[in-house]
Protein backbone atom coordinates (compact mmCIF):
# COMPACT_ATOMS: atom_id res chain seq x y z
CA UNK A 1 0.00 0.00 0.00
CA UNK A 2 2.91 2.29 0.86
CA UNK A 3 4.38 1.60 -2.59
CA UNK A 4 1.04 2.33 -4.26
CA UNK A 5 0.54 5.68 -2.50
CA UNK A 6 4.11 6.57 -3.22
CA UNK A 7 3.70 5.88 -6.93
CA UNK A 8 0.42 7.80 -7.15
CA UNK A 9 1.98 10.84 -5.47
CA UNK A 10 5.05 10.68 -7.70
CA UNK A 11 2.67 10.36 -10.64
CA UNK A 12 0.80 13.47 -9.58
CA UNK A 13 3.99 15.49 -9.38
CA UNK A 14 5.27 14.51 -12.85
CA UNK A 15 1.65 14.77 -13.99
CA UNK A 16 1.81 18.44 -13.01
CA UNK A 17 4.52 18.94 -15.66
CA UNK A 18 2.56 17.00 -18.28
CA UNK A 19 -0.43 19.17 -17.38
CA UNK A 20 1.57 22.34 -18.10
CA UNK A 21 2.77 20.98 -21.44
CA UNK A 22 -0.73 19.82 -22.33
CA UNK A 23 -2.06 23.26 -21.44
CA UNK A 24 0.48 24.91 -23.73
CA UNK A 25 -0.42 22.47 -26.54
CA UNK A 26 -4.15 23.12 -26.08
CA UNK A 27 -3.69 26.91 -26.10
CA UNK A 28 -2.07 26.83 -29.52
CA UNK A 29 -4.43 24.14 -30.80
CA UNK A 30 -7.40 26.33 -29.82
CA UNK A 31 -5.88 29.33 -31.56
CA UNK A 32 -4.75 27.78 -34.86
CA UNK A 33 -6.09 24.20 -34.97
CA UNK A 34 -2.63 22.61 -35.15
CA UNK A 35 -0.51 20.67 -32.67
CA UNK A 36 2.75 22.44 -31.94
CA UNK A 37 5.40 19.71 -32.25
CA UNK A 38 8.04 22.23 -31.22
CA UNK A 39 6.36 23.06 -27.90
CA UNK A 40 8.82 20.91 -25.96
CA UNK A 41 11.87 22.36 -27.69
CA UNK A 42 10.62 25.89 -27.05
CA UNK A 43 10.27 24.98 -23.35
CA UNK A 44 13.77 23.46 -23.35
CA UNK A 45 15.22 26.63 -24.90
CA UNK A 46 13.48 28.77 -22.29
CA UNK A 47 14.92 26.58 -19.55
CA UNK A 48 18.42 27.07 -20.97
CA UNK A 49 17.86 30.82 -20.96
CA UNK A 50 16.93 30.69 -17.27
CA UNK A 51 20.00 28.52 -16.60
CA UNK A 52 22.22 31.01 -18.43
CA UNK A 53 20.73 33.90 -16.44
CA UNK A 54 21.51 32.03 -13.23
CA UNK A 55 25.07 31.38 -14.45
CA UNK A 56 25.39 35.12 -14.86
CA UNK A 57 24.39 35.55 -11.23
CA UNK A 58 20.66 36.31 -11.42
CA UNK A 59 18.89 34.76 -8.39
CA UNK A 60 16.45 31.88 -9.10
CA UNK A 61 13.14 33.71 -8.95
CA UNK A 62 14.53 36.68 -10.86
CA UNK A 63 15.66 34.31 -13.62
CA UNK A 64 12.26 32.57 -13.46
CA UNK A 65 10.27 35.75 -14.03
CA UNK A 66 12.67 37.10 -16.65
CA UNK A 67 12.45 33.78 -18.53
CA UNK A 68 8.64 33.95 -18.47
CA UNK A 69 8.74 37.41 -20.04
CA UNK A 70 11.37 36.45 -22.64
CA UNK A 71 9.48 33.27 -23.54
CA UNK A 72 6.25 35.23 -23.93
CA UNK A 73 7.96 37.65 -26.33
CA UNK A 74 9.69 34.77 -28.12
CA UNK A 75 6.38 32.93 -28.61
CA UNK A 76 4.83 36.03 -30.15
CA UNK A 77 7.86 36.50 -32.41
CA UNK A 78 7.68 32.89 -33.65
CA UNK A 79 3.98 33.31 -34.49
CA UNK A 80 4.51 36.63 -36.29
CA UNK A 81 7.54 35.45 -38.29
CA UNK A 82 6.73 31.84 -39.06
CA UNK A 83 3.11 30.85 -38.50
CA UNK A 84 1.21 34.01 -39.41
CA UNK A 85 2.43 33.73 -43.02
CA UNK A 86 1.36 30.06 -42.95
CA UNK A 87 -2.12 30.78 -41.56
CA UNK A 88 -3.90 29.92 -44.81
CA UNK A 89 -1.48 27.22 -45.94
CA UNK A 90 -2.48 23.53 -45.97
CA UNK A 91 -2.01 21.35 -42.88
CA UNK A 92 1.13 19.65 -44.20
CA UNK A 93 2.87 22.99 -44.75
CA UNK A 94 2.19 23.83 -41.13
CA UNK A 95 3.44 20.44 -39.98
CA UNK A 96 6.64 21.03 -41.94
CA UNK A 97 6.92 24.42 -40.22
CA UNK A 98 6.60 22.83 -36.79
CA UNK A 99 9.20 20.17 -37.57
CA UNK A 100 11.58 22.79 -38.92
CA UNK A 101 11.10 24.85 -35.78
CA UNK A 102 11.69 21.72 -33.69
CA UNK A 103 15.02 20.88 -35.25
CA UNK A 104 16.22 24.49 -35.49
CA UNK A 105 15.56 25.17 -31.81
CA UNK A 106 17.10 21.84 -30.82
CA UNK A 107 20.29 22.40 -32.84
CA UNK A 108 20.69 26.02 -31.84
CA UNK A 109 20.43 25.05 -28.17
CA UNK A 110 23.08 22.37 -28.77
CA UNK A 111 25.27 24.87 -30.57
CA UNK A 112 25.11 27.46 -27.79
CA UNK A 113 25.09 25.25 -24.71
CA UNK A 114 26.36 21.88 -26.12
CA UNK A 115 24.79 18.49 -25.48
CA UNK A 116 26.33 17.64 -22.11
CA UNK A 117 23.96 17.13 -19.22
CA UNK A 118 23.75 20.03 -16.77
CA UNK A 119 22.56 20.25 -13.19
CA UNK A 120 19.56 22.52 -12.73
CA UNK A 121 18.66 23.96 -9.34
CA UNK A 122 15.34 23.67 -7.57
CA UNK A 123 14.07 26.54 -5.42
CA UNK A 124 12.13 24.15 -3.20
CA UNK A 125 15.01 21.92 -2.09
CA UNK A 126 14.94 18.11 -2.18
CA UNK A 127 13.97 17.27 1.35
CA UNK A 128 11.13 14.99 2.45
CA UNK A 129 7.92 17.05 2.17
CA UNK A 130 6.41 17.74 5.62
CA UNK A 131 8.63 15.04 7.08
CA UNK A 132 6.95 12.34 4.96
CA UNK A 133 9.05 10.02 2.83
CA UNK A 134 6.43 9.94 0.07
CA UNK A 135 7.24 13.04 -1.95
CA UNK A 136 10.03 15.58 -1.90
CA UNK A 137 9.67 19.31 -1.41
CA UNK A 138 10.53 19.80 -5.07
CA UNK A 139 7.71 17.51 -6.16
CA UNK A 140 5.31 19.30 -3.84
CA UNK A 141 6.57 22.60 -5.27
CA UNK A 142 5.87 21.43 -8.85
CA UNK A 143 2.30 20.56 -7.92
CA UNK A 144 1.87 23.89 -6.14
CA UNK A 145 3.19 25.91 -9.08
CA UNK A 146 0.90 24.07 -11.52
CA UNK A 147 -2.15 24.66 -9.37
CA UNK A 148 -1.32 28.37 -8.99
CA UNK A 149 -0.87 28.62 -12.76
CA UNK A 150 -4.22 26.97 -13.35
CA UNK A 151 -6.05 29.26 -10.97
CA UNK A 152 -4.38 32.25 -12.59
CA UNK A 153 -5.39 31.11 -16.08
CA UNK A 154 -8.92 30.36 -14.96
CA UNK A 155 -9.36 33.90 -13.62
CA UNK A 156 -7.74 35.38 -16.71
CA UNK A 157 -10.07 33.60 -19.14
CA UNK A 158 -13.21 33.89 -17.02
CA UNK A 159 -13.03 37.41 -15.63
CA UNK A 160 -10.89 39.65 -17.83
CA UNK A 161 -11.82 41.38 -21.07
CA UNK A 162 -8.67 40.13 -22.75
CA UNK A 163 -9.48 36.57 -21.68
CA UNK A 164 -13.01 36.90 -23.04
CA UNK A 165 -11.68 38.29 -26.32
CA UNK A 166 -9.20 35.42 -26.66
CA UNK A 167 -11.91 32.83 -26.05
CA UNK A 168 -14.14 34.51 -28.62
CA UNK A 169 -11.36 34.64 -31.21
CA UNK A 170 -10.59 30.95 -30.67
CA UNK A 171 -14.18 29.76 -30.88
CA UNK A 172 -15.53 31.87 -33.78
CA UNK A 173 -12.93 34.06 -35.50
CA UNK A 174 -15.36 35.67 -37.95
CA UNK A 175 -17.85 36.69 -35.27
CA UNK A 176 -14.98 37.89 -33.11
CA UNK A 177 -13.84 40.24 -35.87
CA UNK A 178 -17.42 41.48 -36.20
CA UNK A 179 -17.40 42.68 -32.60
CA UNK A 180 -14.08 44.44 -33.23
CA UNK A 181 -11.56 41.92 -31.89
CA UNK A 182 -8.19 41.81 -33.63
CA UNK A 183 -8.12 38.01 -33.94
CA UNK A 184 -4.66 37.92 -35.47
CA UNK A 185 -3.13 39.46 -32.34
CA UNK A 186 -5.17 37.16 -30.13
CA UNK A 187 -3.46 34.22 -31.87
CA UNK A 188 -0.05 35.79 -31.27
CA UNK A 189 -0.98 36.35 -27.64
CA UNK A 190 -1.98 32.67 -27.39
CA UNK A 191 1.47 31.69 -28.68
CA UNK A 192 3.15 33.98 -26.17
CA UNK A 193 1.15 32.52 -23.29
CA UNK A 194 1.78 28.95 -24.47
CA UNK A 195 5.52 29.63 -24.66
CA UNK A 196 5.49 31.08 -21.13
CA UNK A 197 3.48 28.13 -19.75
CA UNK A 198 5.87 25.72 -21.49
CA UNK A 199 8.84 27.49 -19.92
CA UNK A 200 7.35 26.91 -16.47
CA UNK A 201 7.07 23.20 -17.28
CA UNK A 202 10.69 23.16 -18.46
CA UNK A 203 12.06 24.95 -15.42
CA UNK A 204 10.11 22.67 -13.07
CA UNK A 205 11.09 19.37 -14.73
CA UNK A 206 14.75 20.28 -15.37
CA UNK A 207 15.94 19.42 -11.80
CA UNK A 208 14.38 15.95 -12.29
CA UNK A 209 15.47 15.01 -15.82
CA UNK A 210 18.59 17.27 -15.95
CA UNK A 211 19.13 20.03 -18.46
CA UNK A 212 20.12 19.07 -22.03
CA UNK A 213 18.70 19.81 -25.50
CA UNK A 214 16.68 16.56 -25.72
CA UNK A 215 15.20 16.72 -22.24
CA UNK A 216 11.65 17.61 -23.36
CA UNK A 217 11.16 14.91 -25.99
CA UNK A 218 9.54 12.38 -23.68
CA UNK A 219 7.76 15.10 -21.70
CA UNK A 220 6.11 16.47 -24.85
CA UNK A 221 4.80 13.04 -25.85
CA UNK A 222 3.26 12.68 -22.40
CA UNK A 223 1.92 16.21 -22.81
CA UNK A 224 0.27 15.24 -26.11
CA UNK A 225 -1.14 12.10 -24.48
CA UNK A 226 -2.54 14.26 -21.68
CA UNK A 227 -4.05 16.78 -24.09
CA UNK A 228 -5.66 14.06 -26.20
CA UNK A 229 -6.95 12.22 -23.12
CA UNK A 230 -8.46 15.36 -21.62
CA UNK A 231 -9.74 16.70 -24.92
CA UNK A 232 -7.84 19.07 -27.19
CA UNK A 233 -10.55 21.69 -26.87
CA UNK A 234 -10.61 21.80 -23.07
CA UNK A 235 -7.89 23.42 -20.92
CA UNK A 236 -9.35 21.87 -17.77
CA UNK A 237 -9.41 18.49 -19.53
CA UNK A 238 -5.75 18.92 -20.47
CA UNK A 239 -4.80 19.43 -16.84
CA UNK A 240 -6.83 16.47 -15.58
CA UNK A 241 -5.35 14.44 -18.44
CA UNK A 242 -1.86 15.49 -17.34
CA UNK A 243 -2.36 14.23 -13.81
CA UNK A 244 -3.98 10.98 -15.03
CA UNK A 245 -1.16 10.28 -17.48
CA UNK A 246 1.42 10.93 -14.76
CA UNK A 247 -0.30 8.50 -12.39
CA UNK A 248 -0.83 5.85 -15.09
CA UNK A 249 2.79 6.10 -16.19
CA UNK A 250 4.06 5.44 -12.68
CA UNK A 251 1.61 2.68 -11.85
CA UNK A 252 2.24 0.88 -15.15
CA UNK A 253 6.00 1.12 -14.61
CA UNK A 254 5.62 -0.41 -11.15
CA UNK A 255 2.95 -3.05 -11.53
CA UNK A 256 3.02 -4.28 -15.12
CA UNK A 257 5.78 -6.89 -15.25
CA UNK A 258 8.40 -6.03 -17.83
CA UNK A 259 7.01 -2.53 -18.45
CA UNK A 260 9.83 -0.90 -16.46
CA UNK A 261 11.35 2.37 -17.51
CA UNK A 262 12.00 1.32 -21.09
CA UNK A 263 8.36 0.78 -21.98
CA UNK A 264 6.90 3.82 -20.22
CA UNK A 265 6.87 5.89 -23.39
CA UNK A 266 5.04 3.33 -25.55
CA UNK A 267 2.37 3.32 -22.85
CA UNK A 268 1.78 7.04 -23.49
CA UNK A 269 1.58 6.40 -27.23
CA UNK A 270 -0.78 3.47 -26.72
CA UNK A 271 -2.96 5.74 -24.60
CA UNK A 272 -3.14 8.33 -27.41
CA UNK A 273 -4.26 5.65 -29.88
CA UNK A 274 -6.82 4.11 -27.52
CA UNK A 275 -8.38 7.52 -26.76
CA UNK A 276 -8.50 8.48 -30.43
CA UNK A 277 -10.25 5.21 -31.28
CA UNK A 278 -12.64 4.99 -28.33
CA UNK A 279 -13.44 8.61 -27.48
CA UNK A 280 -11.86 11.01 -29.99
CA UNK A 281 -13.13 14.13 -28.23
CA UNK A 282 -11.34 13.14 -25.01
CA UNK A 283 -12.74 13.25 -21.47
CA UNK A 284 -13.92 16.88 -21.45
CA UNK A 285 -13.56 18.02 -25.05
CA UNK A 286 -16.58 18.75 -27.12
CA UNK A 287 -17.01 16.72 -30.27
CA UNK A 288 -16.62 18.77 -33.39
CA UNK A 289 -19.83 18.61 -35.33
CA UNK A 290 -20.03 20.08 -38.78
CA UNK A 291 -23.36 20.71 -40.43
CA UNK A 292 -23.46 19.85 -44.08
Amino acid sequence: MELFTNQVLAGISTGAIYACMALAVVMIYQAIDHLNFAQGEMAMFSTFISWQLMQWGVPYWGAFVLTLVLSFIGGIAIERLLFKPLAKAPILTNVAGFIALYSIVNSVAGLIWDFTIKQYPTPFGSYPFLGSQLISTHQAGMIGVTILLLIGLFFFFRFTRMGLAMRAAASLPESARLVGINTSWMIALGWGMAAAIGSIAGMMIAPVVFLEPNMMLGVLIYGFAAAVLGGLTSPLGAVIGGFLVGIMENLAGTYIPGAGNELKLPIALALIIVVLVVKPAGLLGRPIVKRV
Binding site: L164, G180, T183
Partner: protein, 237 residues
Protein backbone atom coordinates in the same frame (compact mmCIF):
# COMPACT_ATOMS: atom_id res chain seq x y z
CA UNK B 1 -30.55 64.38 -44.78
CA UNK B 2 -26.86 63.81 -45.44
CA UNK B 3 -25.54 60.50 -46.70
CA UNK B 4 -23.80 58.46 -44.03
CA UNK B 5 -22.61 55.68 -46.30
CA UNK B 6 -21.71 56.14 -49.96
CA UNK B 7 -21.12 53.11 -52.15
CA UNK B 8 -19.82 53.59 -55.70
CA UNK B 9 -18.80 51.09 -58.37
CA UNK B 10 -18.58 48.27 -55.84
CA UNK B 11 -17.32 44.98 -57.27
CA UNK B 12 -16.78 41.88 -55.18
CA UNK B 13 -15.14 38.55 -55.96
CA UNK B 14 -15.16 35.03 -54.55
CA UNK B 15 -11.96 33.65 -56.04
CA UNK B 16 -12.38 34.07 -59.80
CA UNK B 17 -16.13 34.55 -59.60
CA UNK B 18 -17.40 38.10 -59.63
CA UNK B 19 -20.46 38.50 -57.41
CA UNK B 20 -21.10 42.26 -57.52
CA UNK B 21 -20.87 44.22 -60.77
CA UNK B 22 -20.58 47.88 -59.89
CA UNK B 23 -23.13 48.54 -57.14
CA UNK B 24 -23.91 52.13 -56.17
CA UNK B 25 -26.16 53.33 -53.38
CA UNK B 26 -26.36 55.73 -50.42
CA UNK B 27 -27.67 55.42 -46.90
CA UNK B 28 -28.85 58.61 -45.27
CA UNK B 29 -28.28 59.14 -41.58
CA UNK B 30 -31.10 57.86 -39.41
CA UNK B 31 -32.80 56.00 -42.24
CA UNK B 32 -33.87 52.41 -42.49
CA UNK B 33 -33.08 50.91 -45.87
CA UNK B 34 -33.77 47.46 -47.23
CA UNK B 35 -32.06 45.49 -49.96
CA UNK B 36 -34.35 43.16 -51.88
CA UNK B 37 -33.43 40.49 -54.37
CA UNK B 38 -33.63 36.81 -55.19
CA UNK B 39 -31.27 34.20 -53.75
CA UNK B 40 -27.78 34.70 -55.12
CA UNK B 41 -28.45 38.28 -56.26
CA UNK B 42 -25.65 39.59 -54.04
CA UNK B 43 -27.44 40.92 -50.95
CA UNK B 44 -25.27 39.15 -48.41
CA UNK B 45 -22.16 39.90 -50.45
CA UNK B 46 -23.00 43.61 -50.34
CA UNK B 47 -23.14 43.54 -46.53
CA UNK B 48 -19.95 41.49 -46.36
CA UNK B 49 -18.19 43.94 -48.68
CA UNK B 50 -19.06 46.85 -46.38
CA UNK B 51 -17.25 45.02 -43.54
CA UNK B 52 -14.39 43.91 -45.81
CA UNK B 53 -15.20 40.22 -45.44
CA UNK B 54 -14.96 39.58 -49.17
CA UNK B 55 -12.40 40.81 -51.70
CA UNK B 56 -13.80 43.94 -53.32
CA UNK B 57 -12.91 47.03 -55.35
CA UNK B 58 -14.57 50.41 -55.81
CA UNK B 59 -15.31 52.91 -53.08
CA UNK B 60 -17.24 52.62 -49.84
CA UNK B 61 -17.16 55.67 -47.62
CA UNK B 62 -18.57 55.79 -44.10
CA UNK B 63 -18.83 59.41 -42.89
CA UNK B 64 -15.97 60.22 -45.23
CA UNK B 65 -13.71 57.34 -44.13
CA UNK B 66 -12.84 54.84 -46.87
CA UNK B 67 -13.68 51.25 -45.85
CA UNK B 68 -12.22 49.17 -48.67
CA UNK B 69 -8.96 47.59 -47.55
CA UNK B 70 -9.57 48.44 -43.88
CA UNK B 71 -9.54 45.36 -41.59
CA UNK B 72 -12.96 44.15 -40.45
CA UNK B 73 -12.26 44.79 -36.77
CA UNK B 74 -11.30 48.40 -37.39
CA UNK B 75 -14.43 48.96 -39.52
CA UNK B 76 -16.45 47.73 -36.54
CA UNK B 77 -14.63 50.22 -34.33
CA UNK B 78 -15.94 53.04 -36.54
CA UNK B 79 -19.41 52.15 -35.29
CA UNK B 80 -20.69 49.65 -37.84
CA UNK B 81 -22.35 46.59 -36.33
CA UNK B 82 -23.02 43.60 -38.56
CA UNK B 83 -25.51 40.90 -37.62
CA UNK B 84 -24.43 38.13 -39.98
CA UNK B 85 -26.52 35.44 -41.57
CA UNK B 86 -26.69 32.53 -39.13
CA UNK B 87 -26.43 35.08 -36.29
CA UNK B 88 -22.78 34.47 -35.35
CA UNK B 89 -23.69 33.61 -31.76
CA UNK B 90 -20.83 32.52 -29.49
CA UNK B 91 -22.69 29.33 -28.65
CA UNK B 92 -20.32 28.01 -25.97
CA UNK B 93 -20.51 31.25 -23.98
CA UNK B 94 -23.26 32.58 -21.77
CA UNK B 95 -25.85 35.11 -22.90
CA UNK B 96 -24.23 37.77 -20.72
CA UNK B 97 -20.76 37.03 -22.11
CA UNK B 98 -22.16 37.42 -25.64
CA UNK B 99 -23.44 40.87 -24.69
CA UNK B 100 -20.10 41.79 -23.12
CA UNK B 101 -18.36 40.71 -26.31
CA UNK B 102 -20.55 43.08 -28.28
CA UNK B 103 -19.09 45.91 -26.20
CA UNK B 104 -15.52 44.58 -26.12
CA UNK B 105 -14.14 47.64 -27.93
CA UNK B 106 -15.72 50.08 -25.47
CA UNK B 107 -13.82 51.41 -22.47
CA UNK B 108 -16.71 52.96 -20.50
CA UNK B 109 -17.40 50.15 -18.03
CA UNK B 110 -20.35 51.88 -16.38
CA UNK B 111 -21.94 52.51 -19.78
CA UNK B 112 -21.56 48.86 -20.73
CA UNK B 113 -23.19 47.70 -17.50
CA UNK B 114 -26.17 50.04 -18.01
CA UNK B 115 -26.45 49.05 -21.68
CA UNK B 116 -26.67 45.38 -20.71
CA UNK B 117 -29.60 46.33 -18.46
CA UNK B 118 -31.13 48.27 -21.35
CA UNK B 119 -30.87 45.17 -23.58
CA UNK B 120 -32.66 43.15 -20.92
CA UNK B 121 -35.44 45.75 -21.07
CA UNK B 122 -35.64 45.52 -24.87
CA UNK B 123 -35.46 41.69 -24.79
CA UNK B 124 -36.81 40.40 -21.45
CA UNK B 125 -36.32 36.79 -22.59
CA UNK B 126 -32.55 37.33 -22.49
CA UNK B 127 -32.69 38.47 -18.88
CA UNK B 128 -34.32 35.21 -17.83
CA UNK B 129 -31.48 33.28 -19.45
CA UNK B 130 -28.42 35.42 -18.86
CA UNK B 131 -26.29 32.64 -17.33
CA UNK B 132 -27.32 30.05 -19.94
CA UNK B 133 -25.04 28.94 -22.74
CA UNK B 134 -26.15 30.88 -25.80
CA UNK B 135 -26.24 27.68 -27.87
CA UNK B 136 -29.17 26.42 -25.79
CA UNK B 137 -31.40 29.33 -26.82
CA UNK B 138 -34.10 28.87 -29.45
CA UNK B 139 -33.61 30.34 -32.91
CA UNK B 140 -35.73 33.38 -32.11
CA UNK B 141 -33.94 34.00 -28.84
CA UNK B 142 -30.57 33.70 -30.57
CA UNK B 143 -31.67 36.28 -33.13
CA UNK B 144 -32.69 38.64 -30.31
CA UNK B 145 -29.29 38.02 -28.75
CA UNK B 146 -27.52 38.74 -32.05
CA UNK B 147 -29.34 42.07 -32.39
CA UNK B 148 -28.68 42.91 -28.74
CA UNK B 149 -25.00 42.00 -29.14
CA UNK B 150 -24.73 44.32 -32.15
CA UNK B 151 -26.43 47.15 -30.22
CA UNK B 152 -23.92 46.79 -27.36
CA UNK B 153 -21.40 48.43 -29.67
CA UNK B 154 -23.59 51.57 -29.64
CA UNK B 155 -23.37 51.47 -33.44
CA UNK B 156 -24.11 54.38 -35.76
CA UNK B 157 -24.95 51.94 -38.53
CA UNK B 158 -26.36 48.45 -38.18
CA UNK B 159 -26.27 45.86 -40.97
CA UNK B 160 -28.72 42.97 -40.64
CA UNK B 161 -28.57 39.88 -42.82
CA UNK B 162 -31.94 38.13 -42.99
CA UNK B 163 -32.95 38.60 -39.37
CA UNK B 164 -36.23 36.73 -39.98
CA UNK B 165 -34.54 33.58 -41.27
CA UNK B 166 -36.00 30.47 -39.65
CA UNK B 167 -38.21 32.35 -37.21
CA UNK B 168 -41.92 31.94 -36.53
CA UNK B 169 -44.04 34.77 -38.06
CA UNK B 170 -45.08 36.19 -34.68
CA UNK B 171 -41.48 36.41 -33.51
CA UNK B 172 -40.52 38.11 -36.76
CA UNK B 173 -43.18 40.79 -36.07
CA UNK B 174 -41.76 41.38 -32.59
CA UNK B 175 -38.23 41.58 -33.88
CA UNK B 176 -39.09 44.12 -36.56
CA UNK B 177 -41.03 46.19 -34.05
CA UNK B 178 -37.90 46.36 -31.92
CA UNK B 179 -35.77 47.22 -34.96
CA UNK B 180 -38.14 50.10 -35.78
CA UNK B 181 -37.89 51.33 -32.21
CA UNK B 182 -34.09 51.19 -32.27
CA UNK B 183 -34.08 53.10 -35.55
CA UNK B 184 -36.38 55.86 -34.25
CA UNK B 185 -35.35 56.18 -30.61
CA UNK B 186 -31.64 55.38 -30.67
CA UNK B 187 -31.15 57.03 -34.09
CA UNK B 188 -29.32 53.97 -35.43
CA UNK B 189 -29.15 53.88 -39.22
CA UNK B 190 -30.20 50.43 -40.41
CA UNK B 191 -29.51 48.49 -43.61
CA UNK B 192 -31.48 45.25 -43.68
CA UNK B 193 -31.38 42.39 -46.17
CA UNK B 194 -34.62 40.47 -45.97
CA UNK B 195 -36.44 37.63 -47.71
CA UNK B 196 -39.69 38.76 -46.12
CA UNK B 197 -39.99 41.68 -48.53
CA UNK B 198 -43.45 42.71 -47.42
CA UNK B 199 -42.47 43.22 -43.81
CA UNK B 200 -39.21 44.93 -44.72
CA UNK B 201 -40.99 47.38 -47.02
CA UNK B 202 -43.56 48.20 -44.33
CA UNK B 203 -40.84 49.40 -41.97
CA UNK B 204 -38.14 50.78 -44.25
CA UNK B 205 -37.91 54.33 -45.61
CA UNK B 206 -36.02 53.37 -48.72
CA UNK B 207 -35.48 50.23 -50.78
CA UNK B 208 -33.08 48.97 -53.42
CA UNK B 209 -33.71 45.96 -55.62
CA UNK B 210 -30.67 43.90 -56.68
CA UNK B 211 -30.40 41.45 -59.56
CA UNK B 212 -27.21 39.52 -60.35
CA UNK B 213 -24.95 41.93 -58.53
CA UNK B 214 -26.44 45.18 -59.84
CA UNK B 215 -29.01 47.63 -58.51
CA UNK B 216 -31.97 47.52 -60.88
CA UNK B 217 -34.42 49.71 -59.02
CA UNK B 218 -34.42 52.16 -56.15
CA UNK B 219 -36.92 54.43 -54.47
CA UNK B 220 -38.89 55.07 -51.33
CA UNK B 221 -40.20 51.93 -49.72
CA UNK B 222 -43.78 52.74 -50.65
CA UNK B 223 -42.90 53.38 -54.33
CA UNK B 224 -41.10 50.06 -54.51
CA UNK B 225 -43.93 48.27 -52.72
CA UNK B 226 -46.37 49.57 -55.30
CA UNK B 227 -44.24 48.75 -58.30
CA UNK B 228 -45.91 46.05 -60.34
CA UNK B 229 -42.73 44.06 -61.13
CA UNK B 230 -41.65 44.05 -57.52
CA UNK B 231 -45.11 43.00 -56.41
CA UNK B 232 -45.08 40.04 -58.77
CA UNK B 233 -41.49 38.98 -58.11
CA UNK B 234 -41.06 39.55 -54.39
CA UNK B 235 -44.43 40.09 -52.79
CA UNK B 236 -46.29 37.34 -54.59
CA UNK B 237 -49.55 39.08 -55.59
Amino acid sequence: MTAMLNVRDLRAYYGQVQALHGMAFDLSEGSMTTLLGANGAGKTTTLRAICNMVRSTGTIEFEGAPLIGRPTESIVRLGIAHVPQGRGTFTTMTVEENLQLGAITRTDRAGVVSDIERMYDHFPVLKDRYTQQAGTLSGGEQQMLAVARALMLRPRLMLLDEPSFGLAPLIVRDLFKILGKINREDKVTILVVEQNAQLALELADKAYVIETGRIVMSGSASEIANNEDVRKSYLGY
